[in-house]
Symmetry: C2
Subunit: 248 residues, 2 copies
């Protein structure tokens, strides 16, 4: 049987870093999603195979916590594995390493599988006769030493920006791409905060938005240095919620 | 001596395509810039080497014309070479191919070299004792069958959008990244046009913009199906000009 943990090598391209020379979180997030996609595909339950049965993976939560952000021209390695599988969700973890193996950070993610037609969740335990269970790597076998996903409690957050969804936001499914929310959220912060560098980004995806929708960004500063952001579609439904923590 | 033409292999990633499944022009443009950077670096006149002498390359013009845009999960090849070198500018061409070698499109670009301190142009013919001249591939040796860069004539174009420069627009030089202008320009068009797909994008970079600047986008529809866009900084200086032509 195939190894349970995949290794995905990435080069940090010149134009993929921010003004401090560190990789954009959106670019890193995209690499994590690619690593996840490859890991699933190589084992037969990637988007391509699922499309044939009219199912697809949907990202529900992503939390990335970095000791250090990779820098321009670095070669990095992303390792990814399935930590656990429940009926409706699977937890997938990541570790991000320098070329010499030093860990730079970790990520946790939660995924559901949905029926493309009905958009309703499917039973992961019966996916290809439970094949995914063969690849579970428990917390004891491979630790992911960052906190799990927190809960958001918004009390009267401040509306700081409203944008129209545009062409470059939209992916092949005609929804705003998960990564684009991260970019728009980080665009809300000051140069001083961004200069310190991102320590942790946690994001919960709640609903889809499409071309023509309006996205409103509400910000709430926390007491522990964290900033919570809620994104609403057309002034009503919550599309996603995020927590951003910069380095001290 | 090293070959004159480089080959740069690229995989069209899942999240790097637009709602039609074709690669975003910004992503393709980024691959072209990487191919150019690698070609220069491998021959000793890349950004890294130039930095030591306090010089850097500056992109002045880029024109990309595609018969067909690469699609999701395609493996493509970008070939690049120096077509000519003058005192203050060099012309670099590109061809974009499917994995089987079929050409999908071509690009032309113009670059200057500047002194990092004075921001003034330098004499390319004396760069490393004229070494760049050893790599010129004439139009007769390797044809680039697309039109050269045109001239822009704006007569009372319409202001259609104004944005503030934000974190995700800025690169390590603290300027708006060349690719980001392309993305903002293409975001001005309608779904109907974007659905037809891009045939040609021509862009002329005139000045830099920074965090905190405001960018205004002025649009002028031409009689031959082309749309010209002028981008101004803080309502005054022209930052870049572009011509966009969609497939019929």
């Amino acid at each position: 049987m195939m190894e349970k943990i995949d290794s995905h090598k990435v080069f940090v391209e010149p134009f993929h870093v921010d003004f401090t020379g560190r990789i954009f979180m959106g670019v890193l997030g995209n690499h994590l999603l690619n690593a996840a996609g490859n890991h699933s595909s190589r084992r037969g339950w990637g988007i391509g195979a699922l499309n044939e049965t009219r199912h697809t993976w949907v990202l529900s939560r992503l939390s990335v916590e970095m000791t250090e952000m990779p820098r321009q021209n670095e070669h990095i390695e992303i390792r990814t594995w399935v930590e656990s599988v429940m009926k409706l969700f699977t937890n997938r973890n990541f570790s991000i390493h320098r070329a010499d193996g030093t860990p730079l950070g970790y990520a946790r993610s939660v995924w559901a599988m949905i029926d493309i037609e009905t958009r309703r969740p499917c039973d992961l335990l019966s996916l290809y006769n439970g094949d995914i269970l063969n690849y579970v790597v428990s917390e004891e076998e491979n630790v992911c030493p960052i906190e799990g996903h927190g809960r958001f409690r918004f009390r009267d957050p401040e509306l700081v920006r409203t944008i129209d969804v545009r062409y470059s936001d939209i992916d092949i499914n005609r929804h705003v791409n998960s990564i684009k929310y991260m970019e728009h959220i980080l665009d809300l912060f000051s140069c001083e905060e961004l200069e310190r560098g991102l320590h942790r980004l946690e994001i919960a995806y709640k609903a889809e938005s499409r071309m023509g929708d309006t996205l409103s960004f509400f910000v709430q500063r926390g007491e522990g240095g964290e900033t919570d952001v809620e994104v609403k579609r057309n002034g009503e439904d919550t599309v996603c919620q995020a927590r951003v923590i910069f380095n001290e």
